[in-house]
Every structure is written in structure tokens, then in C-alpha cells.
């Protein structure tokens, strides 16, 4: 059987098996306990019934996630540049960056809402805090660990500091930057969700997916909750795919990570 067909059929079969298992577990529960596990059918209905609300919620969460992610990419890059240019700055700031990263953002969140105001502003800041560290660390690493020979080459050709940074170090650090971005892409939707959970809605059109999660779980609408989880998953997937595409655009011509596999 051709490989391509097999690689489509096998996951589909596993998926069908999984659905069957799901129904089996459902029917094995006593009538009293069935409310704990909605059937796939009920989840699908909930998805359909709540589609307007979920769509708006997804847009809200995506907005916060994109803004926070974009902001973290820019700030991280600039910060990484600064850190790479001076080892003094690097040594002074690094411990604080570590501390910032290790403090769970959830602890900060209520305070942030007080300072920044609720809605997309807080969600952006919270997402930013969650995303920026991987990008800073990876990019700094890339900027600092440029091939010694290449640096010598530039120095020998009497390149100015700026030429060395922007014509050599920055392009050389691109793969590292994108590695950081790929990690941040996974974190961004989660960050936006957490932000949303704490910072709430903006305007009458309701909050994001985190906000909806609170509502559905408190009202025991478990089918809708599952539907929300599915949508969140999809959002994360889209995010990561987008960053992978950007990564490909920037790197595929020359970087080994996009080596054509030997088929």
C-alpha cells in the first residue's frame, strides 16, 4: 500500500477506535454519573450550538495571543541584542530574567489587572510575560555564539561594530531566534487563556476562551467545555503552524534544519 495513503489511513483508524472507546466508557457509566462524560455527539452539538460565542471568544483570545506574541518577539530581539553586546549587561541582568521567568504569571495576574486594566491589555501583557523568555534566551545564545572564524573574518576586513552585528551576528542568530519563537508559539495561546481567565472580558461581546471556560465549568456544561478545549487546541495548532511557516520562509534556503530528507 503506498506510503502516503497509509499515513492517512492509520491515524484515521486510530481516531475511529478512540471514538468507539469514548462511547464505550460513556455507556459503562451508571445513569447518575453520565453527566461527567459527554459523548462525542454531545460535544459536537455543543460546538454547533455555541459556535457564535466560541468564535468570538476565539477571536478575542487570538487577539491577545497575537499581540503578546508579537510584542515579545520584538522586545526579546532588542533585549537579546543588548545582552549580546555587553557581557557586563548580560551578567547583571540575567539572574533577574531567570527570576522573572520562574515566577508563575498567575501570581502576577490580579496585580496586572489592577495596573493595566482588564481586557485585551492585560491579556497581552500576561501573554508577553509568558512568551518572552524563551525568545530572549535563545536569541542571545545565537548572537553570542557566532562562529569564531566568521567573527575573525569580519574583524580582519575591518568591519565596524554595527556591520559585525547586523551583517553577521543577527543573520547567524536567525535559527536560534526561530527556535525560541517556536517554543513561544506553543505558549502564547496558553498564556492568552490564562490571561483571559484572570483579566476577563472587554466590552459587551464577552471574553476569550478562558473566560468561557469559567462559565461553562461553573454551569456544569461539560459538553461545551470539551468543545472549548477542542477549539483552544485548534488555535494553538494554527499558531504553531504559522510560526513554522515563517521559520521555513526565513531558513529553508540555507539552513540544515530544512534538509530535504532522503526518500
Amino acid at each position: 500500500m503506498p506510503r502516503r495513503l497509509l499515513s492517512l489511513l492509520l491515524p484515521a483508524a486510530t481516531g475511529a477506535l478512540f471514538l468507539a472507546l469514548w462511547y464505550a466508557v460513556y455507556f459503562s457509566l451508571s445513569a447518575d454519573n453520565r453527566f461527567l462524560l459527554p459523548t462525542p455527539g454531545e460535544v459536537w452539538s455543543a460546538l454547533r450550538d455555541n459556535r457564535t460565542v466560541l468564535f468570538r471568544a476565539t477571536l478575542n483570545t487570538a487577539e491577545g495571543a497575537l499581540l503578546g506574541f508579537g510584542l515579545s518577539a520584538c522586545v526579546s530581539f532588542v533585549l537579546a541584542l543588548g545582552l549580546s553586546l555587553s557581557s557586563l549587561v548580560r551578567v547583571s541582568l540575567y539572574p533577574y530574567l531567570m527570576i522573572l521567568q520562574m515566577t508563575p504569571v498567575i501570581v502576577f495576574a490580579p496585580v496586572l489587572v489592577l495596573w493595566v486594566g482588564p481586557g485585551v491589555k492585560s491579556v497581552t501583557v500576561i501573554t508577553f510575560l509568558i512568551c518572552f523568555f524563551p525568545v530572549v534566551v535563545n536569541t542571545t545564545q545565537g548572537l553570542v555564539s557566532t562562529d569564531r572564524n566568521l567573527v575573525d573574518l569580519f574583524r580582519m576586513y575591518k568591519a565596524s561594530r554595527w556591520q559585525e552585528v547586523f551583517l553577521l551576528r543577527v543573520p547567524a542568530a536567525a535559527p536560534y531566534f526561530f527556535t525560541g519563537m517556536r517554543i513561544a508559539a506553543v505558549l502564547a495561546p496558553i498564556g492568552a487563556l490564562v490571561g483571559d481567565y484572570t483579566a476577563g472580558s472587554s466590552g459587551g461581546d464577552g471574553g476569550g476562551l478562558g473566560f468561557q471556560t469559567i462559565i461553562y465549568s461553573s454551569q456544569a456544561q461539560y459538553a461545551a467545555l470539551f468543545a472549548t478545549a477542542a477549539v483552544t487546541c485548534l488555535l494553538g495548532f494554527v499558531f504553531v503552524m504559522a510560526v513554522l511557516a515563517l521559520s521555513w520562509l526565513a531558513l529553508h534556503k540555507w539552513h540544515d534544519s530544512f534538509e530535504r530528507s532522503d526518500v
Partner: protein, 254 residues
């Protein structure tokens, strides 16, 4: 009237910080047009000497001049060819060759012309748009050489540039190098572990000894230029190679 030496070292020593002395008592004078091969056991400072000439590292003792000035302040007529091709992987072959001229902010027309000429010189005229990962080891090395030549340097520093290549490619590149030299007339310092290569390329062979790194002596290679594949077959060549190999082995045992 004597031509002033292009590169002159007088009793130069080099140590890194408080570390051991890497080079000691290095004295020589290179004339324009010399092809100087540096040969000797590993760890005797041959590569370090190249870096000193290039001004990448300061000398710890003695005086070094390149075109009459200390190496750091010398006019930028030097080109360095490393053991690795050291190409920028995100640039095409052509863009790589253009790097030195770009850094010097040369006008675009000059840049493109010099690049085209250099690539033709090394026999890669059709491969301007290739990325380094699409090139073979030998081709990458040629691009590296083309880049070095794009500035029309007066001094070429080569640190075991062909060490990673197979023998046939290496021999071809040796011949091509000499052919280019004939056209451009630069002075070369060439570090190698291969006696055969050193004898084929150079007119002066500097023999190094280790612990500490020092110049054991100099041997003149009087084989006539231009040297070709034929030269390798000549009796005179093979005799010099054997003789110098014996010398090296005897030095190692001391």
C-alpha cells in the same frame, strides 16, 4: 636598491595572558612575491603566526611590521583563507564573495564586477546563486578563495585550506592557486602538514619546532615557476620532498 620587505618580524614572541609561550624568537623578512610555506609538528604556533601577521592578535614581544606598519594598523591588503571555508550560510556564493567589498562599502558596480571575476578565476562561473550547503567541499573552498581574491590583496594568508579535501582535489587546487598567483602576484603564507604540498607551492619553506614554538630553519625551494602537474613527476621535486621529510622527522625526535 633593496626592496623593503613586505612583512618583517624581529625576535617576535607570543603568549596568551599568563599562559605558556606559544611562539618565541621569530625573525624573518618576506619579499613581495614570496610564497612561504610554514611546516612543522602540531602545536608549534604556525596558525598563531598567521594571526599575528593579520593583526588579529597582538605580539607579546619583539617587533612585527606589515607594509611598514604594525599589523593592527597595516593597510587592509590582507586576505585570510581559513581551514574551514567559513562561508556565511545564509548568502549565495556570489554574495559571499562580495562580503569584503560590502564591508568596505565599495560601490555596487565595482562589487559585482570583482565578484564575477573572482568566481571565474576559481572556475565557479555558473554557480553564483548556489547556497553553501549545495556546494561540495572543494567548491566551498574555491568560493572562500574567490572571496579572498576579490579585494586584490597583496598578502594572502592560508591556514591548511585544503586539509579537509581529498588528494586529487587538493592537487588540482594547488595548481589553480599557483596559476592565479601568476596572474595576481600576491605574497603568500601557507600553513600545511603536507610536505609534498609545501614543496610544490613554495619558494621558501619555514620549518618549525615545538615547545616552545620557534623557527628551526628555512629551506629555499629552487624549483622553477610555473609549476604544474609535470613538476610533481620530476626527480628534483621528489628528492626535495624526501629530504625535507627526513629533516622534519629528525626535528620531532629532539
Amino acid at each position: 636598491m633593496a626592496v623593503p620587505p613586505l612583512v618583517e618580524f624581529r625576535d617576535v614572541a607570543k603568549r596568551y595572558g599568563n599562559g605558556p609561550t606559544v611562539l618565541q624568537g621569530i625573525s624573518f623578512a618576506a619579499q613581495p612575491g614570496d610564497f612561504i610555506a610554514l611546516i612543522g609538528p602540531s602545536g608549534c604556533g604556525k596558525s598563531t603566526l598567521l594571526r599575528l601577521i593579520a593583526g588579529l592578535s597582538p605580539v607579546s614581544g619583539g617587533t612585527a611590521t606589515v607594509e611598514g606598519a604594525p599589523p593592527e594598523n597595516a593597510p587592509p591588503d590582507l586576505a585570510f583563507i581559513f581551514q574551514e571555508p567559513t562561508l556565511l550560510p545564509w548568502l549565495t556564493a556570489a554574495k559571499n564573495v562580495e562580503v569584503p567589498l560590502r564591508l568596505r562599502r565599495a560601490p555596487t558596480a565595482t562589487r559585482t564586477r570583482a565578484c564575477r571575476d573572482a568566481l571565474t578565476l576559481v572556475g565557479l562561473a555558473g554557480r553564483e546563486r548556489a547556497y553553501p550547503r549545495q556546494l561540495s567541499g572543494g567548491q566551498k573552498m574555491r568560493v572562500s578563495i574567490a572571496r579572498a581574491l576579490s579585494l586584490a590583496p597583496k598578502i594572502l594568508l592560508l591556514d591548511e585550506p585544503f586539509g579537509a579535501l581529498d588528494e586529487i582535489t587538493r592537487e588540482h587546487l594547488n595548481e589553480e592557486l599557483l596559476a592565479i598567483r601568476q596572474q595576481q602576484g600576491w605574497t603568500a603564507f601557507f600553513v600545511t602538514h603536507s610536505v609534498a604540498e609545501a614543496v610544490f607551492l613554495s619558494n621558501r619553506l619555514f620549518v618549525f619546532a615545538a615547545n616552545p614554538g620557534r623557527l628551526h630553519g628555512e629551506i629555499r625551494i629552487d624549483l622553477p615557476y610555473p609549476r604544474t602537474a609535470e613538476t610533481r613527476l620530476s626527480h628534483a621535486y621528489q628528492e626535495r620532498v624526501a629530504e625535507i621529510s627526513r629533516l622534519l622527522r629528525s626535528i620531532e625526535n629532539t
